[in-house]
């Protein structure tokens, strides 16, 4: 049976924990709004890029000298897995679910006898993968952790992937990140970066093509040069989009995790307070009995 003082101390400590988790929840909520805006803002560019790329690549696909970034090296031996996670913890299952998704993929690839290399973005995922797959890990890219993801942050990562591809260090590159669905639901997503995955041309797009009335795009300079310029840029944009989605997901996950923690702390405080009051009353009763029985003995 803990003493009254012990109980009081515990209540105090849980209360201060609750204050912290509540503050973190509110910070996450406001950061989430900003992160969501950034995702929204980045969408038009990625969409236009996809449209242009789709119409360009369709024509180039069958040609023998099509860029390797588009059609791949023709092999499927070495895989590069890029694992994008957060810089910080305390956000529920956010980091571990990405890591788990990546691990499953790595295991599967290894079972198929492929060579796997891992590139980590964000330190949290790196520490989780370190133990089992440390020998596969090439490098860990740290994010600034300021919360604002800009193009400047995505570009070095894309450049690194590109230079590795040019050096023939891998054939297929897959990126793992969390797609932001809602505050309570983030979906681990596997995005193939190399060879580039082309968007399915939606219905509306076909209508647009038809709207061109048979007119064909002029390309300046020629298709090949544009495509060669466009594909690396597309890679950067895909990385940027993944990082932005990830940032929004992280804040969303942190918000709901902290909401849960705050509620848990509340429950704990309630039950501790009940316990405290009971103990206090028991002490009073015991004291009264002592006094009364002392008086009767006289």
């Amino acid at each position: 049976m803990p003493s009254l003082k012990d109980l009081r101390n515990r209540i105090d400590s849980v209360k201060s924990t609750q204050k912290i988790t509540r503050a973190m929840q509110m910070v996450a909520a406001s950061k989430l709004r900003r992160a969501q805006e950034a995702v929204e803002a980045a969408r038009p560019y990625a969409e236009r890029m996809e449209t242009v790329l789709g119409s360009l690549a369709g024509a180039m696909m069958d040609q023998p000298d099509a860029p390797k970034l588009l059609v791949g090296t023709g092999k499927d031996e070495t895989h590069l897995i890029v694992v994008a996670t957060a810089e910080r913890g305390l956000c529920g299952a956010f980091n571990s679910s990405i890591a788990r998704g990546a691990m499953r993929k790595i295991d599967q690839l290894q079972a198929e006898g492929k060579t796997v290399k891992v590139l980590c973005v964000g330190t949290k995922g790196a520490t989780q993968l370190q133990r089992a797959y440390g020998h596969l890990m090439l490098e860990t890219v740290e994010l600034s952790g300021t919360g604002r993801i800009s193009f400047a942050e995505a570009q070095p990562i894309a450049e690194q992937i590109l230079s590795m591809f040019d050096a023939g260090e891998f054939d297929v590159c897959t990126l793992f990140y969390n797609r932001f669905k809602s505050v309570i639901s983030q979906i681990v997503t596997e995005l193939q970066l190399v060879p580039a995955q082309l968007p399915e041309i939606p219905e509306g797009e076909q209508a647009l093509e038809a709207g061109l009335q048979g007119a064909v795009y002029d390309y300046e300079p020629d298709e090949e040069t544009i495509l060669r310029d466009l594909l690396p840029r597309n890679l950067s944009v895909q990385v940027l989009r993944a990082l932005l989605e990830n940032a929004a997901s992280e804040q969303g996950a942190r918000m709901s995790a902290m909401d849960n923690a705050t509620r848990n702390a509340g429950d704990l405080i309630d039950s501790l307070t009940l316990n405290y009051n009971r103990t206090r009353q028991a002490v009073i009763t015991t004291e009264l009995i002592e006094i009364i029985s002392g008086a009767e003995a006289l």
Partner: protein
């Protein structure tokens, strides 16, 4: 045929400008061209330079510096996908001069040839921008 074109300028981070305009002068990598309503569909890459947007015929253009990217023009719709775009009016000389200075130092510091080439490109672009401002 519409007498305006739907113009959009987007950077990877956000949509910078969207408007119905009369014409746009685009610095294509193979030469500048002006897009008017009814322009043939074209996809072109851009060199780092200034884009002039004319909201109405003969009006003073809105000038924007665009650091590389590409344009997609079709059906009276013009989209510029810029790597970086800055309103010329929002640019002030001093910050720019500072960036030119930084870029020049980067060129000095570059270790490999690739790095040097890249730094040199940035330097040239910024210089071009500086001269556009005058």
């Amino acid at each position: 045929m519409a007498d305006t074109i739907a113009f959009e300028l987007v950077s990877p981070e956000r949509l910078l400008m969207t408007a119905e305009v009369h014409s746009v002068m685009v610095p294509g990598s193979e030469g500048d061209f002006t897009v008017l309503p009814g322009h043939a569909p074209v996809i072109s890459t851009m060199k780092p330079a200034v884009v002039d947007v004319y909201e109405t015929e003969g009006a003073a253009p809105t000038k924007m510096f665009v650091r590389g990217g590409f344009v997609d023009c079709a059906l009276d719709r013009l989209t510029i996908l810029a790597e970086e775009a800055i309103m010329l009016s929002e640019l002030d000389r001093e910050t720019l001069a500072q960036r030119v200075q930084d870029a020049a130092e980067d060129v000095e510091d570059a270790k490999s040839d690739d790095e040097k080439q890249h730094a040199q490109d940035v330097y040239n672009q910024l210089n071009e921008l500086l001269s556009a401002l005058d």
